[in-house]
Symmetry: C2
């Protein structure tokens, strides 16, 4: 009998670790058994469930909006982040994120301020619809596919495999919650109440007599680092038994998963596949150290995945 | 055939409105049909699912802790809220809440500051465990029952009835989220990820090497008024089709439920039963006005409920 579980995972120790973990926690006769209600799995998004290079998808969307603003207002072309957006200076933007993870948030702050100005007064449904249309129709910058098609096929298989074993899977991402809710159902079949992300502050307003949730130009939570476990607690109210990430920003979330008496599986996606995706460890140094010292399971894209992206028609 | 649905609801227009609504939204041939994923119901807790007089249960718990502090520190006995707690001056405390709903938050602020000082540095699991023990063992101030036994039996029946019809029920309360999570499963069979409440700010700390969510002495969200729909959006990501409350603090939540194209049922519990519970409308004036002008369904405790509280063993 052919084993058709996780078909795009090579039969490596990584796949075997996943299968052994799920077998143990679902076996009522095992001392590692975990009741279904406690089978909570959390997944980072960018770089864990889909490609994050050369730019986060949400950042690409925002840059295109900045570029459009600069198109109409020459003064903006002299200021960051509009200057970089207008001239497609992705190096400046990629660098801003790398510098953020290295402790220097100067440039990220400029981006955040410009993002907040765009958010001001928008109904949450409008933000979602924009995200849905963007990933469905716009091309990834280098891979020759739409953003919707740069999801990792093996991770889709893992989500479904876990669900078949009564896990509840959540996305816990540094990207904006509304952006993610706009795409999570279509891309990952993850429902909107299982999406945790960064948030602005919100106002409740009557618009044409209808109570409406509106974004304000004020940051509330950046869902990264220690805020990931705090937000998981807020929405889920349980410690996960499986956590998957790929960067330093996921360190606290993976650490949090290991705090209970229950068995846990911590997965770290290693981007080591320059041919099919990208090869980089910048921004993941501490996570990789922790993986070594705390025996997390490292997923090598190159060695563990048969296919990276889904087949696309035509 | 005897209709055993909602057995502790008298056969009044209120019960009929509930039955008709659920029949319509679950009938696939009806133009009012609502798919299961969108059958979201939200319930206020204090005064809607259980008794809130003469004091909110969580406030009673906190007062007992203030009294214990004042017992050890005579200086505190001259300061509010410790003075009121020490002398069991519930009139001052009940008044503080009434004044808050009338727009004067001076005394509520004193209470909140003292509450935050108690919260500082506590692990969330500790707060939950304290709440669970309190409602299981401590007596309600006047009703001669534990707090666990002052839940409204008809509302328990409504929760189960809705769940049988594929509704997902959430509690959305001004009380603290950790307090509510500590009691919601035992009292209402509502799981912890369906509990929305007021929150302090949190820190993520390593305690004995274990990642731990800890309360900070800093208020984050008071889950009342416009914050109720904002938090429903945050956790659920959908507009409810059924909302139940009993006070002005629930007005925005009930209004939010009516904003979609889907059919909605808005329920307002009217405390008009001085014999079995309490009779009061203070703090509910605006909600009652809205119920009249927007055709919400008012639940008369006196007329609509056969029995208010659950039977308790001898």
């Amino acid at each position: 009998m052919t084993d058709t579980t996780l078909p795009n995972w090579n039969d490596t120790p990584t796949r075997q670790a996943i299968l052994a973990f799920v077998a143990a926690v679902t076996d009522e006769t095992s001392s590692h058994y975990v009741p279904p209600a406690e089978r909570v799995a959390v997944f980072d998004n960018d770089g864990t469930l889909w490609c994050e290079k050369p730019l986060y998808a949400q950042l690409d969307l925002l840059l295109r909006k900045f570029a459009a603003q600069a198109e109409h207002d020459p003064v903006l072309r002299e200021q960051q982040p509009w200057q970089a957006a207008y001239h497609k200076d992705y190096a400046w933007l990629g660098g801003a994120i790398t510098r953020y993870y290295q402790g220097d948030d100067t440039d990220v702050k400029l981006v955040v301020e410009a993002v907040l100005a765009l958010a001001d007064g928008r109904a949450v449904e409008e933000v979602e619809a924009e995200a849905a249309a963007f990933v469905a129709h716009e091309q990834h910058l280098t891979l020759g596919r739409t953003y919707a098609a740069v999801v990792y096929q093996p991770m889709l298989e893992l989500l479904r495999f876990l669900e078949r074993h009564s896990f509840t899977c959540y996305i816990v991402s540094g990207s904006g919650r509304e952006f993610l809710r706009g795409i999570a159902e279509a891309l990952y079949a993850i429902p909107r109440d299982r999406v945790i992300g960064s948030t602005v502050a919100y106002a409740y307003e009557l618009r044409d007599g209808v109570g409406t949730i509106v974004q304000k130009a004020e940051l509330d939570v950046i869902d990264d680092g220690p805020n990931k476990p705090i937000q998981i607690w807020g929405v889920v109210g349980r410690r996960p038994i499986l956590a998957a990430g790929n960067s330093n920003g996921d360190l606290a979330m993976l650490q949090y998963a290991s705090g209970s008496a229950l068995p846990t599986l911590r997965l770290l996606v290693l981007h080591d596949d320059d041919e099919r995706e990208f090869a980089y460890t910048a921004g993941a140094e501490h996570a990789l150290d922790a993986a070594r010292t705390q025996s997390w399971t490292v997923i090598s894209m190159r060695d563990d995945w048969r296919q990276v992206f889904p087949d696309i028609g035509g």
